[in-house]
C-alpha cells in the first residue's frame, strides 16, 4: 500500500499541507528547504526523519522551536544514516513483538545529510547502513561545500571552485580534486534504487522520490542543492542556477535500479555550455582568467565524457 502523495502542479504544491514548516532560518534562496519540502510532500505516510549536523539541522531545530511536524532526530555530523537505521530496527522489533500492531501503517524512514556528512565524515556510517540493507531513504543535500561552517571544501567540491580551505589565490585556482562520484559508489553497494535529483526539475524529483518510497531497502538520493551563500549567486537566482546545472549536464539527472538498470530521466532540449554554468557562480570567477581557460575546457570534456558514459550504460543495461 503506497502512501504516495500526488501533486500535479505548482499551485497545489504551494498549498499542500506541510510537515516541514516554513519557520526556519535557512538563507533566503537556499535550495535545502525546497528539496526537503518536495520530499516530505511526496508521501502521506508517517515519517521518521533524521538530519546530520549541518545547515538543515542548525536552521530547523533551534530549541525551543522546531520546523518539523514529524518524528525527527539529530545526533551528530556523521550518523544521520545510522540514527534512522536504529529507529528502523526498533520499528521492526516492536512489530515482531506485537507492541506495534500489524494494522498500524509502516512509516517511512528518511535521513538527510549534507555533502560533508555524506561524501566525507559520514561515509562509513552510510556505507554500513546500505550494506546491512535497512529500509530507509538517504538524501544527500549536495551543495558541494561545508556551507554551515563557512564554506570549507568537501570531497564533493568540484575542481576549480574557490572554498575557504582551498581558496583561489595568485598561485592557485582553488580546489584541486575532482568531485567524488558518490552515486556510482552507492549503486555499487547493491542499493535497489539510486538517483540524482534537482529541485528545479521537481516533477522528475517527485517521481524518483515516489519510486524511492515504494522501494524496499536502502535508497540513495543525491539532491543538487544550489547554495546562494557559498556558490555566491543572488538569492533569487537559485532556480536559474539549478537550471544551468541540469541543462549543462554538470548535474545529469538519472537513476540506477538494482545497480544495473540506468535510466537518464532528463535530456535537456538545449544543452548549455559548462562555461555558462560556471560563469553564473562567483566561486568560479577566477577560472575565467586566461591562464585557467584550460580548466574550463577540461571541465566541458569531462561533462561530455560522463554524459556519453551514462548514455552507454543506459543502452547496455549493465
Amino acid at each position: 500500500m503506497s502512501g504516495n502523495k500526488v501533486i500535479k502542479n505548482l499551485k497545489s504544491f504551494s498549498t499542500a499541507a506541510e510537515r516541514f514548516e516554513g519557520s526556519h532560518v535557512l538563507c533566503p534562496g537556499c535550495a535545502h528547504s525546497i528539496i526537503v519540502r518536495e520530499i516530505l510532500n511526496a508521501t502521506n505516510d508517517n515519517l521518521v526523519v533524521s538530519a546530520s549536523t549541518g545547515c538543515l539541522e542548525v536552521c530547523t531545530a533551534i530549541y525551543p522551536h522546531t520546523s518539523w511536524d514529524c518524528s525527527w532526530i539529530h545526533i551528530g555530523f556523521e550518523n544521520s544514516s545510522t540514527a534512522v537505521a536504529g529507529a528502523e530496527a526498533m520499528n521492526k522489533a516492536l512489530r515482531k513483538k506485537g507492541r506495534i500492531g500489524a494494522d498500524v501503517p509502516e512509516p517511512k524512514f528518511v535521513a538527510f545529510g549534507g555533502d560533508g556528512a555524506t561524501y566525507d565524515i559520514g561515509f562509513q556510517w552510510l556505507s554500513g547502513c546500505f550494506e546491512r540493507g535497512h529500509d530507509m531513504m538517504y538524501v544527500c543535500l549536495d551543495n558541494e561545500v561545508y556551507a554551515n561552517t563557512g564554506g570549507q571544501r568537501s570531497s564533493a567540491t568540484p575542481i576549480g571552485a574557490s572554498a575557504t580551505t582551498s581558496p583561489a589565490g595568485s598561485t592557485s585556482y582553488g580546489e584541486k580534486q575532482n568531485k567524488k562520484d558518490i552515486i556510482q559508489i552507492m549503486a555499487a553497494h547493491g542499493s535497489p534504487y539510486v538517483a540524482q535529483v534537482a529541485p528545479n526539475k521537481w516533477k522528475d524529483m517527485i517521481k524518483k522520490i515516489h519510486r524511492g518510497f515504494d522501494t524496499k531497502g536502502p535508497v540513495y538520493i543525491n539532491a543538487m542543492s544550489a547554495c546562494t551563500t557559498e556558490w555566491k549567486f543572488a538569492p533569487h537566482e537559485t532556480i536559474e542556477v539549478s537550471d544551468l546545472a541540469t541543462d549543462s549536464l554538470v548535474f545529469p539527472l538519472y537513476e540506477i535500479i538494482d545497480g544495473t538498470e540506468l535510466n537518464i530521466t532528463y535530456r535537456p532540449k538545449n544543452i548549455v555550455p559548462v562555461r555558462d554554468y560556471l560563469g553564473a557562480q562567483p566561486r568560479f570567477k577566477h577560472l575565467f582568467k586566461p591562464e585557467y581557460e584550460y580548466l574550463i575546457k577540461e571541465w566541458q570534456e569531462r561533462v561530455d565524457a560522463y554524459w556519453e558514459y551514462l548514455q552507454r550504460r543506459e543502452e547496455a543495461r549493465v
Binding site: 533524521s50 542548525v58 531545530a61 530549541y63 536504529g86 529507529a87 530496527a89 506485537g98 556505507s127
Partner: protein, 408 residues
C-alpha cells in the same frame, strides 16, 4: 517476550561476559546494536547465538563500528524501546562522542563495558582507563567486582536507566579478563522472574508514536544549553534514590544486597584502601589476613562511580588514619581520579586521614595479595606517623626505577 524460554539451572557456571549476555537476553531487549572488541566480544557473540536459536525476538544489528553501534542505539532508543550494547577500550573511545549525546538526549541505554587499557601501547587487558574516559559523559557508571555482580547489576541497570525520574544511560563496568573471562558459579533467576523484575519498557517521547511528533537532538546555544545540562545533572543526582530502591527490590527478590558504596572490614578499620572492580575481592582476602595479624585494615569500593557517592564515602572514612586511593588508570599528569574524588569527599568533613594515591595494574598487570599487603603495610606506617610514607603518589607492581609524583 515471544522468544523461547531458556532452561537455565539455579546455579550456572558463567564468566562475566556470559553473565552480561544472559542478563541482556532475560531483559527482553528490543534492539541490540553492537560491534565486537576484545574482551567484550563474547557478550555480543553469545547474544548472536541466542538469537540464532530463537531465544531473542528483538532486533540484533551488527554495525560497522562502535560509533555506529552507539548511534544506532540512540536512534533505536529515541524510537521508543529497550536498547543495549557492549564494548571495551578503543571501541568505547570511538563511542565517546555519542555517549554524550545519548545522555544529553536522556535515552536509557544500557552498556556492558568490559574495562580494558587504552592504547598506546596497544593492550587488550584490563584496566580502568576506559571507565575513566567516560566519567563525565553523563552516564550512570556502575562498578562490578565479579561475574555474579555483572549479572545482577545488568538486570538492575535497565530498571534504573528507564525509571521515569532518571531516563539516563547506564554503564555496567567489569574488569577485562579478571571478570569477563573468569567462570564462576552464578546464582541465576529464571527467565520469567528476571524479565518481570526488569519490567515492561515505558516509552517516553517515542519517535514511533506518530500521534505526537517529537524533535530529538535540537540545537541550543548560550540561551538554553546550560539549563539542559543542569537538568541532566539533576536527573543523574536524582538517580541515587532510584538506585537505592532498585537495589532494595533486588535484595527482596534474591537476598543479594548491593550498596552504592561497598565496604569490608571497615567497622574497626584504622587504615583503608579505596579501589574499583575486582581488586575489592582480592583486598577482602588481605583484610582478613591482616586482621589476624592485629592490623585493623578495611577496603572500600564505590559501587556507583557516577553519581559519585561523596557523602557515603566520607562517612565511611571518618575514623580512619591513613587511606590509599588506588587508581587503575594512567593519571596523565596529576594524581589519580579516585584520589581527587576521595580528597574532595573528605575536605568538608572533620576527618583528615593521611591520603595517598597508588597507580596499579595498568594493562592487566596483576593486583596480587602481596602487592596489596605491601600497600597496607605502608598505610600502617602512615597511620602511626601521621605523615605520608614517601610522596603523595606512587606506582606499584611496575619494573624499573621507582616512580612517584615528584620523581619523574
Amino acid at each position: 517476550m515471544n522468544s523461547k524460554i531458556m532452561d537455565i539451572k539455579k546455579i550456572e557456571v558463567w564468566d562475566g561476559n556470559m553473565a552480561a549476555s544472559q542478563a541482556f537476553r532475560q531483559a527482553d531487549i528490543d534492539v541490540v546494536a553492537a560491534y565486537p572488541i576484545t574482551p567484550s566480544t563474547p557478550v555480543v557473540e553469545n547474544y548472536a547465538t541466542f538469537e540464532a536459536n530463537g531465544y531473542i525476538d528483538g532486533e540484533f544489528v551488527m554495525v560497522e563500528s562502535e560509533h555506529a553501534a552507539m548511534s544506532a542505539c540512540v536512534g533505536a532508543a529515541a524510537a521508543g524501546g529497550r536498547v543495549a550494547t557492549a564494548t571495551s577500550s578503543q571501541g568505547f573511545a570511538l563511542m565517546v562522542e555519542v555517549l554524550y549525546q545519548a545522555a544529553g538526549m536522556r535515552l536509557p541505554i544500557v552498556l556492558a563495558q568490559v574495562n580494558r587499557a587504552l592504547a598506546a601501547p596497544l593492550n587488550v587487558n584490563g584496566d580502568h582507563s576506559d571507565m575513566y574516559l567516560g566519567r563525565d559523559s553523563g552516564w550512570i557508571n556502575v562498578s562490578t567486582f565479579s561475574p555474579q555482580e555483572v549479572y545482577d547489576l545488568t538486570l538492575c541497570a535497565f530498571k534504573i536507566a528507564e525509571h521515569l525520574d532518571v531516563r539516563l544511560p547506564v554503564n555496567i563496568n567489569q574488569d577485562g579478563f579478571m571478570s569477563s573471562h573468569t567462570a564462576q558459579n552464578i546464582r541465576t533467576l529464571d527467565d520469567k522472574t528476571a524479565c518481570d523484575f526488569v519490567g515492561p519498557y515505558k516509552a517516553v517521547n517515542a519517535m514511533l508514536d506518530f500521534s505526537k511528533p517529537v524533535t530529538h537532538g535540537v540545537q541550543t546555544e548560550e540561551d538554553w544549553h546550560f539549563e539542559h545540562k543542569a537538568k541532566q545533572h539533576n536527573a543523574i543526582m536524582r538517580s541515587v534514590k532510584v538506585i537505592d530502591a532498585v537495589f532494595a527490590e533486588f535484595k527482596a527478590l534474591t537476598g543479594r544486597e548491593y550498596k552504592r558504596v561497598e565496604s569490608y572490614g571497615m567497622e574497626d578499620a584504622e587504615i583503608a584502601i579505596v579501589a574499583f572492580g575486582t581488586t575489592y575481592e582480592t583486598a577482602k582476602i588481605v583484610v582478613d589476613n591482616l586482621k589476624k595479624e592485629g592490623i585493623n585494615a578495611g577496603i572500600i569500593a564505590p559501587r556507583i562511580f557516577r553519581p559519585f557517592p561523596l557523602e557515603e564515602l566520607a562517612a565511611q572514612l571518618q575514623n580512619v588514619k591513613a587511606v590509599a586511593c588506588l587508581d587503575r588508570s594512567a593519571p596523565g599528569g596529576t594524581v589519580g581520579a579516585l584520589y581527587n574524588e576521595i580528597a574532595g569527599a573528605l575536605f568538608n568533613s572533620p576527618a583528615r586521614p593521611v591520603l595517598s594515591n597508588v597507580i596499579y595494574g595498568l594493562g592487566g598487570r596483576d593486583m596480587t595479595v602481596s602487592v596489596l599487603t605491601g600497600i597496607y603495610k605502608d598505610l600502617v606506617k602512615e597511620a602511626a606517623t601521621g605523615k605520608l610514607n614517601g610522596t603523595i603518589q606512587r606506582f606499584v607492581g611496575v619494573r624499573g626505577p621507582e616512580l612517584n609524583y615528584y620523581n619523574a
